[in-house]
Amino acid sequence: MIREFAIVWANSGQLLNGLLNTAGLAVLGMILSVLLGSLLAVLLMARSRPVSLSAQAFVDLFRCVPFLLLAYLVYFGLPSLGLNFDNWTSGLVAIVFYNTAYMAEILRGVWRGLPRDGIEAATAFGFQGWRLFLRIILPQVFLIAAPMMGNQMIQIIKDTAFLSIIAVPELTHVASGIQSQYYVPFAAFLAAVLLYWMICSLVEAGVFAVERLARERR
């Protein structure tokens, strides 16, 4: 047993690399899906029926596709359309599409429940359009949505593990490689589990900090 962990320790550089890839994919994926999800939420809330319905169709589509299938589709399917991404980029694209849909749904839900009061005052004071959205609506939405967005971030971190099937060198892929090379499954996978747990704890600490900001304002 000790020997097994010693082997994993000897390969800690690889694991660290996998961890960085996982964190990189998750952070970049989160940032992009929050940005795109915010835009998509605007479309979901659009007064024009055709616009909001198309946005809703997009959201429903991506929420119904299993993430694994989406990753396959981006990596193996898109080249048929002439779109060739490397493994890492394919993984990121799949994460962003998938989570943009979820993020938009979360943000729209909170936005709908936002009290009309503040928005009305902003309108009366001359806010409109993007300025109203970015300065008055979105900050309130983010403060309320923070715990749900944190959950989604954790979901993203875990979903990156699926990307090992398209050979993205993320944490699960690396752990799997170490175990098959040295046949140390318990130690290799346990090490990966601990590292996942560490980054998820970091995310939770972040969510806790935002929740405190939100509490001060409630």
């Binding site: 009366a124 004071f125 001359g126 409109q128 309130q140 001060e216 409630r218």
Partner: protein, 263 residues
């Protein structure tokens, strides 16, 4: 005084409302309302609930676009481009709205911003004024409404009376030509009404131009230059408060006073 150099007959009133109508479905809320507010005047809009007071106020800054009629702000048409036919687009409307300050019944402060940030938000990001100058002015305003020590607090931590004083300061920070008050004390506990009314009285005395929808008859009597009684969407009576409260001209006004003042 600069005011006296300009004869009042020449300067247009700050607010002029002509023949305003507004319906919600088949419900006629405003039925040809005409009135004005002169520079430095305080006009109180009185009337039973459902008389159209709040709708009239909200038509002034186009929160409710009226069906017919004209609103002129210092002689300039609201809601339409010059010529009066083409409606303003969103940006033009926003610019026009930023000339008017509004105080709401439920305060409507922005909960994600501190008290000071609530005051400077629109002057900086709508009016595009200098941040330092705006902050300086906002601090003076907070001091005047007695809340200098609360500038870094969030609205959620204030009492109703404090929130409404912030609401008033926020409206003043816009350097508005006209202040609209939509039942500013109706959502307050009775013991908190006084502190808000006191601030409003000072503004009226200092010559702010104010249109006030209120049920505070004391304020109307003491601070208004004119009261306008609205009923079923029509102007019933326009009078000086001394006359209105002691010898009203119409039967409807007598009934109203009976019910709301002597009750």
């Amino acid at each position: 005084m600069p005011d006296t150099s300009m004869p009042p007959a020449v300067a247009p009133p700050v607010l002029e409302i002509r023949g305003l109508t507004k319906s919600f479905g088949t419900n006629i809320v405003l039925d040809g309302v005409s009135m004005q507010v002169g520079k430095g005047q305080t006009v109180c809009l009185l009337g039973p609930s459902g008389s159209g007071k709040s709708t009239l106020l909200r038509c002034v800054n186009w929160l409710e676009p009226p069906d017919q009629g004209r609103i002129l702000l210092s002689g300039k048409l609201m809601g339409f481009r010059d010529g009066g036919v083409v409606p303003m687009n969103g940006m033009e409307l926003a610019r026009a709205r930023s000339r008017i300050g509004m105080v709401f019944q439920h305060f409507n402060l922005w909960p994600h911003l501190t008290v000071l940030q609530n005051l400077i938000e629109a002057p900086i990001h709508v009016q595009g004024r200098q941040r330092d100058e705006v902050i300086g002015e906002a601090e003076v305003l907070l001091d005047r409404v007695g809340l200098a020590d609360k500038k870094n607090a969030f609205p959620a931590h204030l009492s109703g009376g404090q929130k409404q004083r912030v609401g008033i300061a926020r409206a003043l920070a816009m350097r508005p030509e006209l202040l609209l008050f939509d039942e500013p004390t109706s959502a307050l506990d009775p013991e908190l009404v006084g502190e808000v009314v006191a601030v409003m009285k000072i503004l009226a005395e200092e010559g702010s131009t104010m249109l006030v929808v209120t049920h505070e008859m004391g304020f109307a009597r003491e601070a208004a230059d004119e009261v306008v009684l609205l009923d079923l969407g029509r102007v019933v009576e326009i009078a000086r408060p001394t006359e209105f409260f002691t010898k009203p001209k119409t039967e409807r006004a007598r009934q109203f006073l009976q019910r709301y003042v002597h009750a």
